[in-house]
Amino acid sequence: MRFLSTRTGRGICALASICVSLSPAIGQTATARIVTAANAFLSTLDEKQRQTVEFAFGDEKQRQRWSNLPTGFVPRGGISLKEMNATQRAAALALVSSALSQRGFEKVRQIMESDEVNKTSEGNNPIFGKDLYYISMLGKPSEKDPWMLQFGGHHLALNVTIVGEQGVLTPTLTGAQPALYTIGGKTVRPLGQESDKAIALLNALDEKQRKQAILSYRLADLVLGPGQDGKTIQPEGLKASGMNERQRAMLVDLISEWAGIIHESAAAARMAEIQAGLDETWFAWSGPTSVAPGKNITAYYRIQGPKLVIEYAPQRLGGDPSMHIHTMYRDPTNDYGRRLIAK
């Protein structure tokens, strides 16, 4: 008599692997940790699922198959959490978590939860929900060769390229609707820091600086959103070289809301790169310059440096723009890690 079925056995093995990948491995590099988590996840999949998840590293179509829109409108590649069993789902989330910082993963979790709230408020509309997020990989998980992990769905597109010990998170889209909700008696704003830190920076500027930073025209949407890869627009607004040290520190702190989504060592390298180009980094604002307490701003803003584009764009879609936000994070010189791969 068999004590364990093959399926149960596989599940236990997968869980053991997940535990190993989640435990802080002393001496293990970030990439090694992600690779372990990726292989652990792959080992939970059957052959058909594996084929759905794995893409060739050179698959440009899959690389660019991401959007802010619900997955029913713009189908993603890979496999959704909905199509996974509990073990596979845990392994998938463990993999995503291994590639991100703690606060980055928390942000992702809150964005997914926001879509679940959206689903409920839309009468259980099946196009929304926290299980409609897809995971895919381009190339084989490796500590040496470049490969890519994608995770996304409505209001989320994480594109993590791993090249040896280096990790690149651009391009990445985050968004939320509702961008403020209550769960378990706790108010959650998935992109609240992006809003609060930006208005704090604007308020820290003097009149002359504000005149430079505030654009005189309305911006209805992201300029460099999905499908706009490889474009660098002329920067506008206030240059960080014209800011004092406190304002520059606030700007860096604001940027870290995106740059800090990825795991700590990659985030540190990225922040160093952004700091190096800080003098040439611009901050531009369009829209209302005040915010209701505890709410999100309704203004658009953009941060643009030599290796950085961040856009924060409240959407009028669905009513209150403070409740529906799209943001974009890019490195026009290194989206999808192209600069690293070319080396």
Binding site: A220, V223, K231
Partner: protein, 250 residues
């Protein structure tokens, strides 16, 4: 435009569609302009909101068969170009359609459709400070315009300023074009050189005339040189670069 929102919501409810995911009562028209030495290129993305798709679709699918044919796509793009104005340094330019692409009518009805138009225009030769003006009047009652400029790849082109009106239907791009004959600095230098050369020539002529007068006076009044006439020439030549003096004051 805000008074269109309740109507948009009503339309969405009647369609049984979620109000949150779609563009609603605006026709987003995002243009990215790229300036080169001898031409301007532009990429337009036109995204009709679900509540305004009933206004936009009939102007694309003109025979109403639910399919956008090549000729319908082409003629819609030409109509869009007809609603644009483009000028350089005050001279109107004629935009030339490069390509047009669009999603199906079904997607447009859901507020998920997109029309992509690429056009270009040749720029007449110019140099120094240049001003490109782009105006978009296409479906202005429902439009939400966005206009931006790509950072020029050509290092001889430097963007000086971008100005727009509040709704971005009007966009003014000021830039400086340098390099070769059109370099403003080299043009100024050329003018300065020509002026200097003219001045030196004039002075030389005057000096020569002076010398010949002195010579004729000398022949009339032996032993009385006409030195003062030479002095102003020398004083002015003293401010000129030595190379100039060498080459002109032989």
């Amino acid at each position: 435009m805000s008074n269109r929102l309740p109507a948009a919501a009503a339309i969405l409810l009647s369609l049984g569609a979620p109000a949150s995911a779609h563009r609603l009562d605006e026709y987003l028209q995002a243009t990215i302009v790229s300036v080169e030495k001898d031409r301007v290129q532009a990429f337009m993305r036109l995204i009709p909101g679900v509540a305004v798709s009933s206004i936009v679709i009939p102007s694309i699918d003109t025979n109403g068969d639910g399919i956008v044919s090549d000729s319908e796509r082409q003629s819609y793009a030409e109509r869009v170009l007809g609603d644009l104005s483009l000028s350089i340094d005050g001279h109107p330019l004629k935009p030339r359609l490069v390509s047009v692409d669009c999603t199906g009518i079904g997607e447009m009805k859901e507020g998920l459709g997109e029309i992509r138009i690429e056009f270009s225009a040749d720029l007449p030769r110019g140099h120094g400070s240049r001003r490109l003006i782009f105006e978009n009047r296409h479906q202005s009652r429902i439009a939400a315009y966005l206009v931006n400029c790509l950072m020029p790849r050509d290092k001889t082109i430097q963007i000086a300023a971008q100005n727009r009106n509040e709704n971005q239907s009007y966009y003014q791009l000021d830039y400086r074009q340098a390099g070769g004959r059109s370099d403003p600095l080299s043009s100024l230098g050329t003018i300065a050189l020509l002026l200097s050369a003219g001045l030196v020539l004039l002075l030389r002529l005057r000096a020569r005339r002076g010398r010949s007068r002195a010579a004729s006076r000398q022949s009339n009044h032996a032993g009385m040189p006409d030195a003062p006439r030479e002095r102003p020439v020398r004083r002015i030549l003293g401010y000129l670069p030595p190379a100039w003096i060498r080459s002109t004051d032989r």
